[in-house]
């Protein structure tokens, strides 16, 4: 299958600063991918280039089989909801109206339902909305557009937990009914973990992890208990980090554990806890790429 998004050696240089550094990855059509990374890691720049808003300094970007730069056919099938969106002096109603004009698959029904759920005031100027309300508007536009490629950059800044849950529910329901390629950047990793089929972690412009979330479950385990037992258990295993408090210790072991390992841990009175996606990402984003690369699953 041709990838919906294909990026190779993508680099963006701002006066000597590499915002995106030789990024290479493919996204399958009809998938939900999380783009994760710290502030300033290059997530927004990467998405702006995918949307054709920014130009690459070097490398290759294809969206739906063609370069997105000024390609009417590709752009018509793409929407980019960004956290820092500058809106015209529009009322909420006008912003929705404008968006509905440009997307042939726009769902008035969905937009109406979500406006009610988020309590969006249709008659208020977008510029007068609170941060959370503006995010909600972006979400409504992003989902109701039903665009083949949907890019969400930090879509829920300032949204309360109830509204975020609404977003997750709507996103999944929409995706089930009208599958599309969704790339979502977020800091709330564990919250979004259930949605994501794949994660791409970017750090200082470089892709440091690109894996299916299923493969990442159990990719690393936290082992804790008596320090001697931890040391015994972790000997000959790749260990990411060890912490010790008095006679207790905890270590993160990379690789999956089998039944024998688990039985042995039980004998040694060790607690085993799989690392959450968030912990894995924190690890990936905080380490030099070579440490994580043995764990990397190729696309």
């Amino acid at each position: 299958m041709t990838p919906a998004i294909s990026v190779a050696g993508l680099t963006r240089n701002y006066r000597g600063q590499l915002a995106v550094d030789h990024a290479t990855f493919d996204l399958e059509p009809r998938s939900i991918t999380g783009l994760l990374g710290r502030n300033g890691a290059g997530k927004t720049t990467l998405m702006r280039i995918l949307a054709g808003h920014e130009f690459a300094s070097a490398g290759f970007v294809h969206v739906l089989g063609a370069s997105p730069v000024e390609d009417e056919k590709v752009l018509r099938q793409m929407i980019f909801v960004r956290e820092d969106q500058t809106y015209p002096y529009f009322k909420v109603r006008h912003a929705l109206q404008a968006a509905s004009c440009f997307y042939p698959n726009w769902s008035h029904e969905l937009a109406g339902a979500m406006v009610t759920e988020f309590n969006l005031p249709l008659g208020r100027k977008v510029r007068k909305l609170s941060r959370g309300m503006r995010s909600a508007l972006g979400i409504v536009i992003g989902l109701a557009a039903r665009a083949e490629v949907t890019l969400f950059d930090e879509p829920y800044a300032g949204l309360d937990p109830v509204a975020r849950q609404l977003f997750y529910d709507r996103l999944l329901a929409e995706y089930a009914e009208h599958p599309r390629t969704i790339l979502l950047s977020t800091h709330l990793i564990d919250e979004a973990a259930g949605l994501l089929e794949r994660v791409i972690v970017i750090d200082r412009g470089q892709i440091v992890l690109n894996a299916d979330t299923d493969d990442l479950r159990g990719a690393a385990t936290s082992v804790s208990g008596p320090a001697i037992a931890v040391a015994e258990f972790t000997a000959d295993r790749p260990v990411w980090n060890t912490r010790r408090i008095a006679s207790q210790a905890s270590a993160v072991v990379a690789g999956t554990l089998d039944e024998t390992d688990r039985a042995r841990a039980a004998v040694l009175h060790l607690r085993l806890e799989p690392l959450t996606l968030q912990e894995l990402v924190v690890h990936a984003a905080g380490s030099p790429p070579e440490i994580i690369s043995p764990e990397r699953t190729s696309a």
Binding site: R48, A51, H53, F55, Q85, A95, Q97, A98, C101, F102
Partner: protein
């Protein structure tokens, strides 16, 4: 093409930019002048006010706002820079044609009523808008496009290089003007220039303005193509 029309409609969503501001300001401007002229001592002389320039200046800012305010969201909705610019330019041409016609009609009324009963020349401007109605329309049309296109270019420069770019752009225009004036001085060409402008017909001037408008539209297009948001 249909995207261009959609962009034009998108541009009209905020009615203040293209519809309300120009006519509201022109109406206020007209009323103020009317009151002033009415309060002048009654005489036999014609009163020239020259306040029609307001609508041209407002449309310059309209062009700038149409880009500066409206462009980022349109791009987020998957509109290409090229379509956004083409659609906006198309709207500007249509607006210039319709508003030019509006100004022509108002000029005819002004003529018919003897300058609103006050011998006021508001919509009649000596030399520029003093010919037959179709020439008034043509000159207004070209003049309005010129201002809108110029404004759009300002808006694009602002979006692309923000305030520093905008100031440099203005400075560059002043510099070009200064160089041209200095060039005329150095080559002792003032006499020829003066002769050229005193013998220039309004048709000729309209043609020159049209060339300038096309140049400004081309300049805007050249600048918008590499604009990043």
């Amino acid at each position: 093409m249909s995207t261009w029309i959609k962009v034009a409609r998108y541009q009209l969503t905020d009615r203040y930019i293209f519809v309300v501001s120009p006519w509201l300001i022109l109406a206020l401007d007209f009323l103020i002048n009317l009151v002033i002229v009415a309060s002048l001592p009654v005489g036999q002389h014609q009163v020239y006010v020259g306040a029609l320039s307001a609508i041209y200046i407002v449309l310059l800012t309209s062009g700038a706002l149409a880009i500066a305010r409206q462009l980022p969201f349109a791009l987020a909705l998957g509109v290409s820079r090229r379509s956004f610019y083409a659609g906006s330019a198309l709207l500007c041409v249509a607006i210039a044609a319709v508003y030019g016609l509006g100004l022509t009609v108002l000029q005819l009324i002004e003529r018919g009523t003897g300058g609103w009963g006050l011998r006021m020349h508001f919509f009649r401007v000596q030399y520029l808008l003093a010919g037959p109605w179709y020439l008034t329309w043509l000159t207004s049309f070209v003049g309005l496009i010129l201002m809108l296109a110029w404004g759009m270019w300002f808006g694009i420069v602002y979006r692309r290089w923000s305030l520093a770019g905008l100031l440099s752009f203005i400075a560059a225009q002043i510099l070009v003007l200064a160089v041209v004036l200095a060039g005329i001085g150095v080559t002792h060409a003032w006499h020829g220039v003066g002769h050229f402008f005193t013998t220039l017909t309004i048709e000729g001037l309209t043609g020159l303005l049209a060339v300038a408008a096309v140049a400004l539209l081309a300049g805007g297009y050249g600048t918008v193509r590499r604009l990043a948001v």
